[in-house]
Symmetry: C2
Subunit: 454 residues, 2 copies
């Protein structure tokens, strides 16, 4: 039987809270808290401020859906999703679904939260529809595949369909309505990597707009707007128009309800582009194991998969804090010097640190065919370090810190959340603790208001 978008829509219409296995439930809550920290951390970025200004100019002055930045107040669901979605993708700490090369949290949670608040829904429904959104969005991303990812920001193009499915479920649409919403979402799918080349703000536009556009698709479907039914596989659908290479049709329905996207998503521990993480982990391991110091290192060769060259190769030397997180040499310099690559390590001062800049030039990326063949099922990496005294060390990592096989513990996620909240300028840390508590038992919450901070 040929794959059909409708299979996914039908599945999305049938998932109930009681069908969700406990590990999936627990992981979804962890991912939500992880997302919340990212959103707080990003809220003062100029791109977010500009998008929030637009929301203020074009949206209603008030509303039931809240911006995570409390000072910005409430608005309608589409605008809250837009601004929170932009905010959560700023600090490069949000989750990553390995097989689809997508960041699902930054699109699914802001949309689901805004719509659940708008409709006064409870935590059980919220969690259920987030699981739906992860599944739909990540499967679409995996269907679009690696060649699509080379040209498009899959988080946006797959994400907008996940958002549409999530929102449509929150609006209680049936399978036909969900399918219509997914079709209208897919015909809006967009997001180009061009911004990497000049360090501009499209990354936030892509996630914010994926939220807005997916919410639009679902509310409009509820109001009678018909979307195309075969948006993935159709003759003029996404597969034909947006995928220069091959699609992966089996991703649409293989093991639906058995193999959960939520459990295939990784937490980010380091604050840099996820494509640098295999090398960062390998370098940390290598330096610890062999007692190698920053000053000892003459050169680093990092062996990686080809998709890393595509994204990292476009960001130049890293002239801005954000861009510097996409430069392999700079990220490994920071890692070597500070023993970590956390959010507090990427600063304006670091950009002007001559020792980092010199180290950066001594890092070289090499394609590793074996590692490449396993990507994106596995995000692996190896580094080869030559010291100034002529010694040579090599290290490989199979599973990264934060990978599905090696997830962050609840306590690590809470630590990360506190650190992100501090980075985001939160003064009253008691309120952060309260949100951490609420997130831990969000399925018991009768309403979802108040996930905001000043």
């Amino acid at each position: 039987m040929p794959i059909k978008t409708s299979t996914l829509a039908h599945w999305a219409s049938t998932l109930e809270y009681q069908h969700i296995p406990d590990p999936v439930l627990q992981r979804t809550k962890d991912l939500f808290l992880d997302w919340l920290g990212c959103t707080i951390a990003g809220r003062h970025h100029p791109a977010v401020a500009a998008i929030a200004k637009f929301a203020q100019q074009m949206g209603p002055g008030m509303g039931r859906s809240e911006l995570v930045d409390e000072e910005l107040g409430g608005t309608s669901a589409a605008f809250a999703a837009l601004v929170n979605g932009a905010s959560s993708h700023v600090v490069e700490q949000d989750d990553l679904h390995n097989r689809s090369i997508m960041h699902p949290a930054t699109v699914i949670f802001p949309a689901a939260l805004a719509v659940a608040q708008d409709r006064g829904l409870n935590g059980e429904e919220f969690i259920t529809t987030c699981v739906v959104g992860y599944e739909v969005g990540c499967r679409v991303g995996e269907f679009l595949g690696k060649s699509h990812y080379e040209r498009f920001h899959s988080t946006a193009t797959g994400g907008v369909i996940g958002v549409a499915a999530t929102t449509a479920r929150l609006l209680h649409l049936d399978a036909t309505g969900i399918l219509s919403a997914m079709g209208t979402a897919g015909t809006q799918a967009a997001g180009l990597w061009q911004f990497l080349l000049d360090a501009t703000h499209s990354k936030q536009v892509h996630t914010g707009k994926a939220c807005f556009d997916g919410v639009f698709a679902a509310y409009a479907a509820q109001a009678g707007l018909l979307g195309p039914q075969d948006i993935l596989e159709g003759q003029r659908g996404m597969g034909i128009a947006l995928v220069p290479g091959e699609t992966k049709p089996s991703a649409i329905d293989a093991d639906l309800g058995v193999d959960w996207a939520v459990l295939g998503s990784s937490f980010k521990w380091h604050a840099s582009c996820r494509h640098t993480h295999p090398s960062v982990d390998a370098l940390i391991k290598l330096m610890e194991k062999n007692g190698v110091q920053f000053e000892d290192i003459e050169s680093v060769i990092t062996r990686t998969y080809s998709a890393a060259f595509g994204v990292l190769g476009l960001s130049g030397r890293g002239e801005t804090v954000h861009q510097s997180k996409f430069n392999m040499g700079f990220v490994l310099a920071v890692t070597a010097k500070r023993g970590q690559a956390m959010i507090t390590d990427f600063t304006e001062e670091a950009l002007h640190d001559v020792s980092l800049r010199e180290f950066q030039d001594r890092v070289r990326m090499e394609l590793d065919e074996e590692i490449d063949a396993r990507f994106p099922e596995k995000w692996q990496g190896a580094v080869i370090v030559t010291t100034k005294s002529g010694e040579k060390y090599e290290e490989f990592v199979e599973y990264l810190k934060g990978d599905p096989q090696n997830p962050l513990s609840r306590s690590e996620i809470e630590t990360k959340t506190r650190s992100l909240a501090q980075y985001g300028g939160v003064k009253d840390m008691d309120r952060v603790e309260k949100l951490i508590q609420r997130a831990r038992r969000i399925e018991k919450e009768s309403d979802l208001n108040g996930f905001t901070l000043s």
Copy 2:
């Protein structure tokens, strides 16, 4: 010198009202009135109603920007542009820029009107920025070219950049700001033809959202959001990602300020897809010249360019009124039977007219290499009719009714407007006359409120 998006942005920042040649000014006003009629005619379509409902749910309850459907009231600029943009592309009577295969009116005018109203700007500024939007949007569409058009609805993908430039000029941004807006618009560019296959509503989504997204890009740029600078020609820009074949770089800046997009745009006289018009004109000419009647015709061969096969080939037999306007056989059947293919000829009754359905099956499309080589510079066509008595006639048309070389007269446009207003259910035709008068001297208007009808 390589082509640059910035050349276009710079030009867009410098055009002043007094630079606009009188024929360009007059044609822009004609196109505006033509757009207004289309918008009124489309306002009650279910897709427009659904999008208007979303605007009501997510936007402010009131605002300075007006929906052309007076009963829906005022809102913010982005939502007024969204709804009016959707409405003006319903009845397939809006203009077409030949070389870019784009419909510029349906994106440029709704956005410009909404923003001008929001900002309280006058008619002179409105006209100037509409000329800017036509130029930028159509040149981008022409740059993206024929292979892009086979997969994407260029009206949306080129249009969103035209909208961004128009809006940015209305917000008084400089060349840098306009370039940022164009970049943010381009990274949102989307719109697939999949909806043609199942007669769903994406066509209205594409034009409405091109308006919304372009307005977003410009307001956000004003608030400090940085867009990529080389969105057309960059390594990960639109040319690479959205064009499977060749781009046409010369379209970006050839004869800027000399060869005007406004003067390269055609009015639509017939109410069917523009790709049927060469055949419709040729058939009308053939039947008149040779005294051939509907009942006499045994078969029709229509010789056309390849792009027509792409779009028309996707719409099936024409099961809905909208889809029937995309079926060559059905459109020529209507033309032959009624001597015209006006908005009042495409009805539910017509869909069930057995004589039309029988005729439809006797029409065959053939690729004509010579006609194809001249497309889209020229939209030409030929028909060969064989009568039941065995006679054979052939007719060719070089320029269609409504083509830049053969535009509608002011009086024909006014007649068309009245007919579209009646189709759109306007009772008080005196108000239509007043709007026709205002549109005729719109450059003298001190404000642009009141282009609405009940």
